[in-house]
């Protein structure tokens, strides 16, 4: 090409508070977008799970059935099912429309920290403090897991699923990637207890935050470190980290009440979004738009790239 490519438009960051949702369900342990980003799911410490409209912030449904606080939630690709995990050692598969428990799976020996559907929602994967990841079949009526991954030497703190890979972060300071297609297990030693792991959107890199207040971007295939992001505070909490919708920024919660945005390539701090005074417990990035959910104490905040009124005008 004769001309250099035009400089791509600077990515917009979700820095405007659109609304605050008071969840009325105790502390919000986790907040998640659903698969298409139109709905918000909040896990409460009062054993309930709530479904909200992301655009209006209204409560749509409350799911009760857990025996203790709900720790993580994931929605299936078709929004028909939800899976949650809880401190009561169970994993529950919900029917979204009716709010009924489709399946309640017991087997973990300790509280279950994280849960994920696979791409087709045929398998639920749950990682527990007991150091195992259990693969539950949603198709059959079996109450036993398909497979138990017990290679971790300490509790599982975070887990993500891609097409054919499982990314599992454990408190033993290792990020394990199970490659189903290759039949291999790759163990990356980080050293400090892992709090959250993510795939990048192009699924070539893995992002892992650990309790040494550092977020690391590792090359998936070789395990080399591509970037290191620090400045935030993460010493004791299981805080979330994620990548922005176009993989341009790395985001992480912080115990000082901010959400940190780093430029992925430069590694420099782009934005320090003040959320509140307490610990930002959980965050979730919209799958396609620059929109962010943060959870602090009992409420959830929705952040957008533009102020609300402007967005409304656009839509009109």
């Amino acid at each position: 090409m004769a001309f250099p490519q035009p400089r791509p438009q600077a990515p917009q960051l979700p820095q405007h508070l659109l609304r605050t949702i008071e969840c009325q369900q105790g502390a919000v342990r986790a907040v998640r977008f659903n698969a298409d980003g139109n709905y918000v799911l909040t896990c409460g410490s009062d054993k309930s799970l709530k479904l909200w409209s992301a655009s209006r912030g209204t409560l749509l449904k409350t799911y009760t059935g857990h025996g203790y606080e709900v720790l993580d939630v994931d929605s299936s690709y078709d929004n028909s099912q939800l899976c949650t995990c809880s401190s009561d050692k169970t994993v529950i598969l919900w029917d979204v429309a009716s709010g009924q428990v489709t399946r309640k799976l017991r087997g973990h020996a300790g509280k279950v920290n994280c849960v994920q559907f696979n791409e087709e929602a045929t398998v639920m994967l749950s990682g527990s403090i007991d150091g195992t990841v259990r693969c539950w079949d949603t198709r059959s009526r079996r109450y036993e897991p398909i497979q138990i991954l017990d290679e971790a030497q300490d509790g599982i703190s975070s887990l993500k699923v891609s097409e054919h890979e499982l990314l599992i972060g454990s408190v033993d300071g290792r990020v394990r990637r199970y490659d189903l297609r290759m039949g291999q297990l790759h163990v990356d030693f980080i050293g400090s207890p892992i709090t959250c792991v993510c795939f990048s959107r192009d699924s070539q890199c893995t992002l892992s935050s650990s309790l040494d207040s550092t977020v690391r971007l590792l090359d998936k295939s070789s395990g080399e470190m591509l970037g290191e992001y620090s400045g935030h505070v993460n010493k004791g909490y299981k805080l979330d980290c994620c990548l922005s919708d176009k993989d341009t920024h790395v985001l992480s919660c912080s115990e000082d009440g901010h959400v940190y945005f780093w430029d992925l390539v430069e590694g420099s701090l782009t934005l320090k979004l003040p959320v509140g005074k307490a610990v930002v417990q959980s965050l979730s990035f919209h799958p396609t738009e620059p929109r962010l959910l943060t959870a602090m104490e009992g409420h959830v905040q929705v952040w957008g790239a533009e102020p609300e009124d402007a967005a409304v005008e656009d839509k009109l």
């Binding site: 696979n118 017990d150 163990v187 980080i190 890199c205 070789s222 970037g227």
Partner: protein
């Protein structure tokens, strides 16, 4: 009849006859007292549980239940069969012993009430008996009845009879003088009493009473203490409909105001009824009956003094004493005492009798009790404690010893005053002084080794590549020699014989024989025991391995003191347990990785790849072909390993040996990153690689193997069909090139790479694949040795890069 010998059968025999003595039978020795045991009907020893009858011998040998145990009755109820309400009697909870003669509820033949002649009233019986004596025909009342009716006299009566007591007599010592006759004949007078008739007394005195005759005491009719259940006034009896309507045969007049005395007298067959009625209440309130003879002034005033104010009334003056009545009868017994008081004094004085003066109170008595707080002497100041002690007398002494659980056995022993147990308190006391010294030495040596190994480890990452071999081999060599020295020290000397010692290589008899030889030589103090006992026909590598194993085994299974070893029994099922399941691929040393993380050298040093088998169903659910078709293993492949293999003990003594021995291990370390269909090839190479003469304990070997495996993996992946899908190889190549160029900082390069990745161009990827193909060709053409050389050089470059 008695003289008739033939009619023996006619004799009535009581009891069990003794066995007829036979003449030639030896005289039986009497059973001594201490051998005489009481057994119950079941032949078990009888235990006495309480007084006389033994109380309860509860259940089955003092347990609940039976020989089979206790089975509770289960509650079953259905719609068709409703559960019956169990009517539980006390007998259900009793044992058969309780029903026996001396049990608490003896079951014997008893006349039931149906066959008893009417209700037997004890009082009535007594009265009847007394009255029968005075009757014209003695015992005319119910004499016939008594003949028919079964006698039911209590055991007390039986005993009294045996002692010479007769019915109707009083109980007590016989008296010299006949009891003074009372005015028994006197008519009961209401209103003004007549003065006592003096003629009566004279009559009594005149009665014949010989001096030398003693009399039985006059019998006393017990007072009928029937409780008052009605709400009538004292002494008032309501209309008895039976008497009023049915017509009492004897009493034409219904007397509502019969007193206690009257009632008692009526028991005696109304002998004096006419007399009494005449002197009784004239019925001022009820008029004069037609049958009444005396209709003296019917309007006379009644006074309360005419009435008895005590229950029980006057003793019937029936004059039944006969010639046995004692004179002092009036004054014995509480009853008469009370009565006398009643007569002599007013009612109030009778009450006053029982009022006692209040007790004398001590001078310092305070009517409120005050609980003093218990104060721990350790928590308060000594002055306060002293003051408290003075005020109270004692301080809580047991405060400082916090509960009995915090005491140890010896303390408790002291408190209880027990003599301490004899014998050693610790296992180490069983060891001889020599052994103890040896143990300490070993401990000291181990700590020193740890230190040296640690320091050497961190030197191993030092910049000078030439010093690697020297710095690492010298401590290991010296360490090995020190171990052999230790083994020698442990085994030389008069210790347990070989037969008693543990056989770690029992599976391989030849190896065990060699080991035994080695141990024997050690015992003789042979310095080169190890070398001489090894098989010279083996390869150097094998010998090296065995040398290691033997030394370690000798150290681990040191001969213990015979006194100690005799205390432990060897388990019999060794065959089952001498192999353990271990995941085949063990993780490498963590310390190396930690160091790598510190230097931010993520990548090869922190990455480990293992073979992992997903479940078939999981692959199906993920829409992924099974990577290991035909393999039945799930998860990490496991291998059975000899429990007593050296490699399981490696971590016991020193973790630094992991890196030293790992490359020479039978498990293929290189296989960790390769695909399964390559593994046989790899294992072949491993043996080839261990060429005798080469120093296999090179610290570099870990790195060598790693890099070698890397190359192998690269080669393999280019061969495998998945190669296109995984961009590992081209990236690596690129990285290598980058490193060779030493152009820019590492981070920048990575970022660039990342950028490249983000904008994936198909053409570029194709190029990479081609590149990787060519590189794989290169590696293929290289021989194995060259491979190693290349990798070492790369490693050296890398280390240069770091520092």
């Amino acid at each position: 009849m008695a003289s008739d010998e033939d009619s023996d059968e006619d004799f009535v025999t009581y009891g069990t006859p003794l066995e007829p003595l036979e003449e030639d039978e030896p005289v039986r020795k009497p059973v001594p007292v201490h051998e005489q045991t009481v057994k119950d009907e079941k032949g078990r020893y009888k235990r006495f549980h309480g007084a006389f009858t033994g109380g309860f011998s509860a259940g089955y040998f003092n347990t609940v239940g039976s020989q089979e145990g206790w089975t509770p009755s289960t509650f079953v109820s259905s719609r068709q069969q409703k559960a019956e309400k169990p009517n539980v009697r006390p007998e259900d909870f009793m044992d058969e012993e309780d029903f026996s003669e001396h049990g608490i509820a003896p079951r014997e033949i008893v006349t039931t009430d149906d066959f008893a002649s009417g209700k037997k009233d004890q009082l009535k019986d007594k009265a009847k008996a007394v009255s029968s004596l005075a009757a014209l025909i003695p015992g005319d009342t119910g004499l016939l009845e008594e003949l028919i009716a079964p006698a039911r006299s209590s055991i007390g009566v039986e005993l009294l009879r045996k002692m010479g007591w007769k019915d109707g007599q009083g109980v007590g010592p016989r008296l010299k003088r006949k009891q003074r006759k009372q005015n028994d004949d006197a008519v009961k007078v209401y209103g003004c009493a007549f003065p006592p008739n003096g003629s009566e007394e004279s009559e009594d005195d005149d009665e014949f009473a010989p001096e030398n005759v003693s009399f039985a005491p006059k019998d006393v009719v017990p007072v009928d203490f029937t409780p008052k259940v009605d709400s009538h006034g004292l002494g008032y009896r309501g209309l008895n409909p039976l008497q009023a309507l049915g017509g009492g045969s004897e009493t034409g007049h219904i007397n509502l105001f019969t007193l206690q005395s009257d009632r008692t007298t009526s028991l005696f067959g109304d002998r004096n009824s006419g007399q009494q009625r005449r002197g009784g209440i004239g019925g001022q309130a009820f008029g004069v009956g037609a049958m009444e003879e005396e209709d003296t002034d019917i309007y006379h005033k009644d006074s309360m003094s005419n009435y008895d104010n005590v229950l029980g009334g006057e003793e019937p003056g029936d004059g039944l004493y006969g010639w046995t009545a004692p004179q002092q009868d009036k004054n014995d017994g509480f009853e008469s005492l009370v009565r006398s008081h009643c007569r002599s004094s007013s009612f109030s004085s009778f009450i006053n009798l029982f009022v006692y003066p209040p007790p004398d109170l001590p001078r310092d008595y305070r009517p409120v009790h005050y609980f003093r707080p218990v104060v721990d002497s350790s928590t308060v100041s000594p002055i306060v404690a002293q003051a408290l002690q003075a005020s109270r007398g004692h301080l809580s002494q047991d405060a400082p010893q916090q509960g009995r659980h915090s005491l140890d056995s010896s303390q408790r022993c002291d408190m209880l005053g027990e003599t301490p147990l004899q014998g050693p308190s610790s296992v180490f006391e069983l060891l001889g002084s020599k052994d103890r010294e040896r143990l300490n030495e070993i401990r000291r040596a181990a700590t020193e080794q740890n230190k040296s190994a640690l320091s050497s480890r961190f030197q191993s990452i030092a910049p000078q590549p030439d010093s690697h071999t020297q710095s690492q081999t010298s401590p290991t060599k010296s360490q090995a020699s020190s171990e052999t020295q230790m083994a020698l020290k442990a085994w030389s000397g008069p210790t347990a014989d070989a037969s008693k010692t543990f056989k770690p290589f029992a599976e391989n008899p030849q190896k065990q024989a060699r080991y035994d030889l080695y141990i024997n030589k050690l015992k003789q103090g042979n310095k080169d025991a190890l070398e001489s006992s090894l098989d010279s026909s083996m390869t150097e590598w094998e010998r090296g391995r065995e040398r290691d194993e033997f030394v370690r085994a000798a150290l681990l299974y040191k001969p213990s003191n015979s006194s100690l070893s005799s205390r432990f029994t060897r388990s019999k099922h060794e065959d089952d347990t001498d192999s353990v399941e271990v995941t085949r691929d063990q993780e490498n040393d963590v310390d190396d990785k930690q160091a790598a993380v510190k230097m931010k050298m993520f990548g090869k040093l922190t990455r480990e790849t293992f073979e992992w088998h997903p479940d078939k169903l999981l692959c199906k659910r993920f829409n992924v072909p099974d990577p290991y078709p035909g393999s039945s293993t799930v998860g990490m492949p496991k291998v059975k390993r000899d429990k007593y293999s050296v490699f399981n003990f490696l971590t016991i003594t020193d973790s630094s040996q992991v890196s030293r021995v790992a490359p020479s291990a039978p498990k293929p370390p290189s296989s960790s990153s390769t695909l399964p269909h390559l593994t046989p090839e790899v294992s072949n190479k491993k043996s080839r690689w261990d060429i005798p003469g080469q120093e296999p304990k090179d610290p570099l070997s870990a790195f060598l193997s790693e890099t070698r495996s890397e190359v192998l993996a690269a080669k393999n992946q280019t061969d495998s069909p998945h190669a296109i899908a995984t961009p590992e190889v081209p990236l690596k190549k690129q990285k290598k090139k980058d490193k060779e160029k030493h152009k820019a900082k590492k981070h920048k390069k990575e970022k660039k790479k990342k950028k490249n990745k983000k904008h994936k161009h198909k053409g570029k990827q194709k190029k990479r694949v081609e590149e990787s193909n060519s590189s794989s060709d290169d590696t293929d053409s290289n021989s194995e040795d060259e491979n190693r050389v290349v990798s070492t050089s790369e490693l050296l470059q890398r280390s240069e890069l770091i520092f």
